[in-house]
């Protein structure tokens, strides 16, 4: 979804401008309804957020206080750690989605029994509501009675307090995120692998290549556009992630699984609208600083392919 840069046809290919009729059949007003909704409900809030983040704000009136909100934000260790958690969460989830998604896609495009069943079962969690998944896994991960630790104890392993141990909470939520989202990554990889021309595999077979060589020299490089799509999509999703974390831990225990999005919600709930909006601006800057250069870099790589 990232490699969609339009390849415009040359002007000559379009309809020659008919004499006397300047109007294009592709009316600009087609943009209008979408543009109004998008401008009013997306662009205006985004632009004004920069101003409101500099105010003490009660929705009805705002008082300019300069950078106080940002000072508060960066002085509070709990809020700064939220920033760090956001990055860890995003990198962890997208890394695992790339590795597992590629592995599953290779498996699900090879000759195995039950391929249709496996594809469906891997993709289905993508469609289930995040809140539903979150609540279910909160119960499955219960340290005493949860199914996961009960099963582990049958194997003689003492399972950790997945969501109650400060050291594990963030990682546990990330793992559930991967469980839910890996189907989409797999789907994108399957589409990428299926579109690789068969001649490559035939040539490799003639040369007597092993399965591993096939993977290293054909699948891995030629599925690169799919990798870029998966990385970008899961990074974007991971950096903005809120609902799963909120459903499972509400940022706890303590602030050990707080991310920026949950900080924004907590400050909003507490009525600190200015501070909440400052959090939004920080998230905006973080996402922009990571995604835009990365997508530019990945797109430039794609041309060499």
């Amino acid at each position: 979804m990232v490699s969609l840069e339009a390849r415009p046809r040359t002007r000559a290919a379009g309809p020659a401008p008919a004499a006397g009729r300047k109007r294009s059949p592709y009316s600009s007003w087609f943009y209008l309804p979408a543009a109004i909704i998008y401008a009013v409900l997306f662009l205006v809030p985004t632009v004004t957020s920069f101003y409101f983040s500099l105010t003490r704000w009660s929705i009805f009136d705002s008082q300019f206080i300069g950078f106080d909100n940002y000072v508060t934000f960066f002085r509070e260790p709990a809020l700064v750690s939220g920033l760090w958690h956001t990055v860890v969460y995003a990198v962890l989830t997208s890394g695992l989605k790339v590795v597992l998604g590629l592995g599953l896609a290779v498996l699900l495009t090879s000759q195995i029994i039950g391929r249709g069943y496996l594809r469906s079962v891997v993709f289905f969690p993508v469609l289930v509501s995040t809140i539903g998944v979150g609540l279910t896994f909160t119960i499955l991960m219960d340290p005493e009675e949860g199914l996961i630790n009960e099963s582990l104890s049958l194997l003689g392993i003492q399972g950790p307090g997945w969501l109650t141990d400060p050291g594990y909470a963030l990682v546990s939520v990330a793992l559930v995120d991967v469980w839910k989202g890996v189907g989409l990554a797999t789907l994108i990889y399957i589409a990428g692998i299926v579109s690789i021309p068969q001649e490559y595999f035939e040539a490799a077979r003639v040369d007597g290549a092993t399965a591993w060589q096939n993977f290293r020299s054909i699948v891995l490089p030629l599925a690169r556009p799919a990798t870029f799509t998966v990385i970008l999509l899961s990074l974007i999703g991971g950096l903005r992630s809120f609902d799963l974390i909120w459903a499972m831990t509400r940022g706890g225990p303590g602030f050990t699984s707080d991310v920026i999005a949950s900080v924004i919600y907590k400050q909003y709930q507490a009525g600190f609208y200015g501070l909440s909006t400052a959090g939004n601006v920080v998230l905006f800057l973080l996402v922009t600083a990571i995604i835009f250069p990365l997508s530019r870099y990945l797109n430039s790589k794609e041309v060499d392919l």
């Binding site: 087609f30 039950g114 789907l187 299926v194 579109s195």
Partner: protein, 281 residues
């Protein structure tokens, strides 16, 4: 999907068995757990174990969940349906119009519009300022307000999907229609839109599931019990029914049914549309 024969044509039985076994443990057990717990009595459900219910309480649990808090779940289902149908319809039509002109006609605005579309996909929405705008418009805490918010946030994804697909439709078709005297509206709604059917289905399915499962936007922009969507009832259930796991899981089960139906009907189509639009570009 086409069959790929990049390996030995012989099916790998050992690998298949391992994969199927793992998929059962990792993916099917959690779903089975949801279903089993939803069927249990309150005492049995509170043990949280993976066991067969001694007595099935499907009807009782179903009725209890539906009746809870003055039939809130029914109201929520109606609200979620209105929200999903309205926002996805508006989103898909408007996005197709934008994608059509954006793909076909190149002006000095094209670069800016492309940039804005990508921004919509990447930039996190500024929440409280959006509430502020909605309040100025008198749309905060209203269904139309939330519908427009969902449209605004979903447009980018649909535009990208549509644009990639429209690039594959030959321009000669447009030209023939124009020579036959079709205006821009006729050209778009009569000639182009019908050709977009497969990608429209993908867009509708993906966005319906997204909007129906959306928790964050209703939480911020449509607070209050009267307006609750299904995801909000689930979230509220989890705090007020924290000891009645059978009801909680019945709620999860009921809410999962609409996406499940979508999935069963359109499984193949989703993949086909994504393949045509998203990855090949």
């Amino acid at each position: 999907m086409t069959v790929v024969e990049n390996r030995r044509p012989r099916k790998n039985i050992a690998l298949s068995l391992v994969a199927i076994l793992l998929s059962v443990v990792v993916f099917l057990v959690p779903f089975a757990f949801i279903v089993l717990t939803a069927l249990k009595s309150r005492q049995e459900a509170s043990r949280l174990d993976f066991s067969w219910p001694t007595q099935f309480q499907f009807v009782q649990n179903f009725v209890d969940v539906v009746q809870a808090r003055d039939y809130m779940l029914i109201i929520a289902f109606i609200n979620s349906t209105i929200l999903t149908v309205a926002s996805v319809t508006i989103m898909v039509v408007l996005a197709a119009m934008v994608a059509f002109v954006l793909q076909r006609r190149r002006t000095r605005w094209t670069g800016l519009i492309n940039f804005l579309v990508l921004s919509g996909l990447i930039i996190p929405p500024a929440v409280v300022p959006t509430i502020w705008v909605l309040q100025k418009l008198g749309l905060f805490r209203t269904m139309p307000g939330l519908i427009l918010v969902e449209v605004a946030f979903g447009l980018s994804f649909c535009i990208l999907l549509f644009r990639a697909f429209i690039a594959t439709i030959p321009r000669e078709l447009d030209e023939a229609a124009i020579i036959d005297g079709a205006g821009p509206l006729r050209l778009f709604f009569r000639v182009v839109l019908p050709l977009l059917k497969s990608v429209i289905i993908t867009c509708v399915v993906v966005q319906s599931v997204t909007v129906f499962n959306d928790f964050v936007n209703p939480l911020y922009f449509l607070p209050g019990d009267q307006n609750a969507t299904v995801q909000l009832t689930l979230y509220n259930f989890s705090s007020s029914y924290s000891t009645q796991y059978n009801l909680l899981f019945m709620d999860i089960l009921l809410i999962t049914i609409p996406p499940l139906i979508m999935f069963l009907f359109f499984n193949k189509r989703i993949v086909a549309g994504m393949t045509a639009g998203a990855v090949k570009g």
